[in-house]
Amino acid sequence: MIQSVNEIKTILNNNFTINHTFIGDYQDFISESYPAICIQPQAMNKALGNHLSFEDFNEGDSIAVWYVEEAPVDRDKSTFISKIDNISDTLMGNSRLNGEYNMGIEIVVEYTQRSTEDNIEFIAKITIEGRNV
């Protein structure tokens, strides 16, 4: 799990401007500067045994990446949405992540609504799911 987490961190920092990275729970996360990412492991599944066929691999590795940007005054989201498109494409097309750490990778993007209690931020939750190899 820590290898996948570190790999995601490296990929995002190498390909995008990220000014603050935090590995931990999103509820503890505070953006010290923008753009910021919070990488939160969600689930892992391991089993002992001889897995001869592809189908026998255990699925269930799940890592959430929260990408947070400071919202502009007019709250227009268009550049943010295209940034998220780029990020999910980059993660999906990354051969190291696909080949070395996960198989059958699947990415779910959720544009979460800003809570009124929190700062004026745009938040996207990118969930990366796959099976560990």
């Binding site: 509820q27 503890d28 505070i30 953006s31 005054v73 700062n119 004026i120």
Partner: protein
């Protein structure tokens, strides 16, 4: 907390018409102020997101004016303060602010007998940490 208040005082002082800014406990020092004045009053300092050394602090900014049409002038001062502080970044070498949010203000001014002027209130919430 001292650093936050210093930063806030310095920021508000950039509105040049304001003659004095004092904590509410030293309001007496504002007696006889020239046209516009402000006092600040800390409500509490709750911990922000359960994280050490991070706070979310609501602050009352009491605004005063003793010009001829003071009840209107004090609302004008409220507007200046709101425009100055809403979503501003107060980060400097002493503190970092995550968010400065104007919460509410009283559009109905009241007469302040102590300072013989009109008074209104702007409530601002600051999320910050000391560096």
């Amino acid at each position: 907390m001292i650093k936050l208040l210093e930063t806030l005082e310095n920021k508000i002082a950039t509105i040049s018409v304001i003659d004095g800014i004092r904590p509410i406990s030293k309001i007496e020092e504002l007696k006889g102020f020239d046209r516009y004045a402000v006092t600040h009053e800390i409500v509490n300092d709750a911990v922000y997101k359960d994280r050490k050394n991070r706070y979310t602090t609501p602050i009352f900014l009491n605004t005063y004016s003793n010009v001829d049409n003071g009840e209107i002038a004090v609302l004008w001062l409220n507007k200046q303060i709101k425009e100055l502080l809403d979503e501003v970044d107060l980060t400097n070498s002493d503190i970092q602010t995550y968010y400065v949010k104007i919460q509410t203000s009283t559009p109905q001014p009241e007469k302040n007998r102590l300072l013989d002027c009109w008074q209104s209130v702007v409530m601002v919430e600051v999320r910050w940490k000391e560096l």
